[in-house]
């Protein structure tokens, strides 16, 4: 049983009626990503497959990862990513890194080529330069420049959001979404997970979210692999992805496990979140609370995709 599941982030606000929707296009892209990653699985490991899936999405400015990431308060791209190999429980992550197109590959290098798990900021960037993994790439896409401008207008009052609002609400309206992630199970029964993001629009420089935190946005062991997306601060304090995997370990179906943790996150933090999960027997869970999680999966039987939730 070989499985790849990918996500392209959550919609955190209700789609505007009559608004131009790119939903179908995003789902199509994700199905393509899942299928390409599945082909990696035919010859490679779950780890290779999740890295490849995330790399494809990091190159696509549709998604908030790598090129075309959300811009922070001062208009820069700073990215977070993590990857975890469930078969060895080794993990690598990077946080608040500038100029790196493929932070997921840099995260894998942290895992495989250093004694550490997490590198951040300039240290991580310097490491990327040393390995020839970039460090000076321009990741700004024009669509994010206007999104940031609009968000700033909202923050300062007078934007379409109407009036000055606390940053908390701004996050909900402009900020999050399009984080990408992947989980996979390979032919040898190995599990892996990866997540990559530009984080929140207007975030403070140096902010690190759940996508760089093993146990929050990404987790994998011998039982299940999980990647999440949403307002990262909530997943960090709830150890979101870790808890999903623990719940699968207690015997829950991956979907039920994800729903249980989403319930806890909503109850204790008031935040919406989404998870994709695959367990060791190839059962898939996609669950989301909020306005929809973009996802796709590919197995030996075929490819499917959609928007989970979306209430």
């Amino acid at each position: 049983m070989r499985v790849v599941v990918v996500h392209g982030g959550v919609r955190i606000s209700r789609p505007r009626p009559g608004g131009r929707s790119r939903d179908g296009e995003i789902v199509d892209k994700l199905m393509d990503v899942a299928e390409r990653a599945r082909r990696v699985l035919l010859a490679g490991s779950a780890l290779d497959a999740v890295e490849e899936a995330v790399r494809i999405m990091e190159e696509d400015p549709t998604f908030n990862a790598g090129y075309g990431s959300a811009l922070n308060l001062v208009g820069e791209v700073e990215v977070d990513a993590s990857i975890m190999d469930g078969s060895t429980m080794r993990a690598g992550a990077v946080g608040a890194v500038r100029g790196v197109l493929h932070p997921v590959t840099l995260a894998r290098a942290v895992m495989e080529r250093t004694p550490h798990v997490l590198l951040v900021g300039e240290g991580a960037r310097e490491f990327a330069r040393k390995l020839g993994l970039g460090g000076d790439e321009d990741l700004v896409h024009e669509s994010r420049v206007s999104a940031r401008r609009e968000a700033l207008r909202g923050a300062l009052g007078g934007g379409s959001a109407g009036g000055t609002m606390p940053a908390r609400d701004l996050i909900g309206i402009y900020g999050v979404g399009e984080t990408v992630g992947a989980v996979a199970l390979d032919g040898e029964g190995r599990l892996a997970a990866a997540t990559s993001t530009g984080g929140l629009t207007l975030k403070l420089p140096g902010r690190v979210g759940d996508s760089a935190v093993v146990g929050a946005g990404t987790y994998a062991d011998g039982r299940a692999a999980c990647s999440g997306t949403g307002v990262g601060e909530a997943a960090i304090v709830e150890a979101g992805a870790f808890r999903v995997v623990e719940a699968v370990g207690r015997g829950l179906h991956p979907r039920r496990a994800a729903e249980e943790v989403l319930d806890i996150i909503r109850r204790e933090t008031g935040r919406e979140f989404g998870f994709i999960v695959v367990d060791r027997s190839g059962r898939v869970g996609v669950a989301q609370m909020g306005y929809g999680l973009f996802w796709a999966s590919a197995t030996d039987e075929g490819v499917e995709g959609g928007i989970e939730g979306g209430g």
């Binding site: 429980m89 798990v117 997490l118 951040v120 900021g121 240290g123 935190v213 093993v214």
Partner: protein
């Protein structure tokens, strides 16, 4: 309701000639935290106060006196968590901040975020008027010597690096206040000769610390890269929730660390009744605690391995 504070000053092979300093330092930290609790202050204030004492004490691998990274800088990580509402704040890889635990608290209380790192975190500290320092102010002669030796070993090229399973002198505190609230805090300089930008378990909620007001609080120390992969503090709090007493919860979580990653460390655990658990799988661990009606209990545990 019983109030309590428990602190640790690191779990590693603490040399004989540093044992006395460790006992004195953890005792002072526990007393400082207790002072806050006994005048009706919050658990959050108490753990911050206790950790600040150890950040100022060059004995410990936190604040002044921390290990140096491969380029000879001190880079500090810290975090704080409030069990009342599961709010947390954390900072990683900061070089110019005297009290990273206080900056972590500012991240929690004054931003929408949980974690800030590097220069961004330092800029916030400056803007808020927190006490800044020059990177060199955090360096003590003992650590400069260690760094020089390490660099020589690295240059000699022969298996220079210390083994991964190094366990350092991170400091931490957990407290229960008069109103029954729990909090935890942690601060560290990380591992000697670490890479620039390396962030360990300490500022990772669930790995380095966890505080859930309905269950208990836990603070980790030891091999950070392993602790991050098994979320050791969360594992200890989960064990409490499942009915284990604090001592058993600490031992169980350390067992997971050893079994799944081969890593060693120490844990302090505090439950809602003020019961304290201390455990370590390293050679030694420095600790101190105070509970009502008792003086400070402090020492260096031995033989955890």
């Amino acid at each position: 309701m019983r109030t309590a504070i428990v602190v640790h000053g690191g779990a590693w092979n603490i040399p004989d000639d540093l044992v006395e300093d460790h006992v004195r330092g953890t005792s002072r930290a526990a007393r400082e935290g207790w002072k806050v609790l006994s005048r009706g202050g919050s658990a959050l204030d108490a753990v911050e106060a206790a950790v600040r004492v150890m950040e100022d004490d060059p004995t410990f691998d936190a604040g002044v006196g921390s290990f140096l990274n491969e380029e000879g800088f001190v880079e500090l990580d810290a975090a704080i968590m409030d069990g009342r509402d599961l709010k947390a704040g954390a900072v990683g890889a900061v070089r110019r901040v005297r009290h990273p635990v206080t900056l972590a608290r500012a991240v929690m209380e004054r931003t929408e975020h949980v974690m800030l790192v590097g220069e961004g975190a330092e800029r916030l500290a400056e803007r808020l008027g927190l006490e800044m320092c020059a990177p060199g102010d955090l360096i003590v002669e003992r650590e400069l010597e260690r760094w020089r030796r390490e660099r020589e070993r690295e240059r000699a090229g022969g298996g220079g690096r210390p083994p991964d399973i190094f366990s350092g002198g991170t400091v931490g505190a957990a407290a229960l206040d008069d109103s029954g609230n729990l909090a935890a805090a942690v601060s560290t300089g990380g591992t000697p000769f670490k890479m620039v930008g390396r962030v360990g378990d300490s500022p990772i909620v669930g790995a380095g610390l966890y505080a859930d007001g309905e269950v208990g609080a836990a603070v980790s120390t030891g091999w950070g890269e392993g602790i991050m992969r098994v979320l050791m503090a969360k594992a200890a709090v989960d064990a409490l929730a499942a009915g284990a007493d604090p001592g058993a919860a600490a031992e169980g979580a350390l067992d997971i660390l050893l079994r799944r990653t081969g890593g060693r460390g120490g844990l302090i655990v505090l439950d809602r009744e003020g019961e304290i658990g201390l455990a370590h799988t390293t050679a030694r661990m420095a600790y101190a605690y105070i509970r009502p009606g008792g003086g400070v209990e402090a020492g260096v545990l031995v033989g955890g391995g």
